[in-house]
């Protein structure tokens, strides 16, 4: 089959699914669900399911719009060149339309089924990722991840607001945890794939400011992450189970950031400390939010005060 014929064929449904970045979505669904389960109050399971579905659809829509806009850049990077648009399995405009439909429908269903405050935050998160991050900041500033990382921080806040119907300090703290976590998580990745970003001209921190500055900033954010992660316990929003685990996990995070901060890589470097930090950062977030829910359940059962 020629490339031209492949372009005229209708895209497979699996390619539409791939556009939604399912692996990223799994983290979005998990943090959104944890935000919902950790919130004080009750939510009907059908409404709760609808809220999580809308968070997932919104994230998928934003991811599709991101791939529509960045199709040319994706084609130039090894990690992303097999995506549906650069690989020639899908028309670019199909991805755009799919992204718009997913985004609009997720906000409308959230508004009608769950509540308009949660829907408004969902809309902001989609615009934040698709416009502020993808179109505006990513190609312009090495701080793109810091500010744009806020987009990924919205799901637990949306999950919380879906239950309570208002914004208090706790959902803002959950937002702040992911906001602080994103730079060291992403820069660890950018350090060992920086050649790809340099090739397509994306001003990622290691490309623009160099390794030394990036490594120092990873450490700074890892230090800042610790009090933010423990803050829900300090303000009395969670019990000791969460507080102690948050501090222990944050110390491990800091411990893994330290070797990344003090070393310099050379050609042919296996980049093991960076890969270790990146891998742990994913475990860290899953564990932290999982423990947040466990703490809430333990409090409800009267196991802790």
């Amino acid at each position: 089959m020629t490339a031209a014929t492949a372009q005229t064929l209708p895209a497979d449904w699996r390619d539409f699914f791939a556009l939604t970045k399912p692996r990223v979505m799994s983290l979005v669904i998990f943090t959104g669900l944890c935000g919902m389960l950790a919130a004080p109050g009750q939510i009907n399971p059908v409404i709760g399911f609808t809220a999580i579905l809308c968070i997932a659809l919104g994230a998928g829509g934003a991811a599709a719009l991101n791939q529509w806009w960045e199709a040319d850049l994706d084609a130039g990077m090894t990690r992303t060149s097999k995506r549906p648009i650069p690989a020639g399995r899908m028309q670019r405009n199909d991805a755009r339309d799919f992204g718009i439909v997913l985004s609009i429908s997720s906000v409308l269903v959230m508004g009608l089924g769950v509540g308009w405050l949660a829907a408004s935050i969902l809309l902001v998160s989609i615009l934040y990722y698709a416009v502020v991050y993808t179109i505006w900041l990513k190609p312009r500033t090495p701080q793109n991840i810091v500010i744009g990382g806020g987009a990924g921080a919205f799901p637990p806040m949306i999950g919380w607001v879906a239950v309570t119907g208002d914004i208090t300090l706790m959902p803002v703290l959950l937002f702040s945890i992911i906001f602080m976590w994103t730079p060291p998580h992403f820069w660890a990745l950018a350090l060992f794939i920086k050649s790809d970003y340099a090739k397509v001209g994306i001003p990622m921190m290691p490309v623009v400011s160099g390794q030394a500055s990036t490594r120092k900033q990873i450490l700074v954010y890892s230090i800042l992450l610790m009090p933010v992660a423990a803050a829900p316990w300090f303000i009395g929003g969670t019990g000791a189970i969460y507080g102690v685990c948050a501090i222990v996990l944050s110390f491990i995070f800091l411990g893994l950031s330290f070797p990344v901060a003090i070393r310099r890589s050379e050609d042919g470097d296996a980049m093991k400390p960076e890969k270790r930090l990146f891998a742990f950062s994913i475990i860290y977030l899953f564990a932290l939010f999982g423990i947040l829910v466990a703490d809430r359940v333990a409090t409800q059962l009267g196991l802790i005060v």
Partner: protein, 41 residues
Amino acid sequence: MTPEELAEFRRRQKSRNLALGGLLVFFALLFYAITIVRMGD
């Protein structure tokens, strides 16, 4: 379009139609469930 390409075209068309149909049925059921829950509020 060669017969092989036509067969592939039909296969993809069918799989997309099935996926879309399934999605529509799912949302119809979801809206029904949301309506029932909201009526009880």
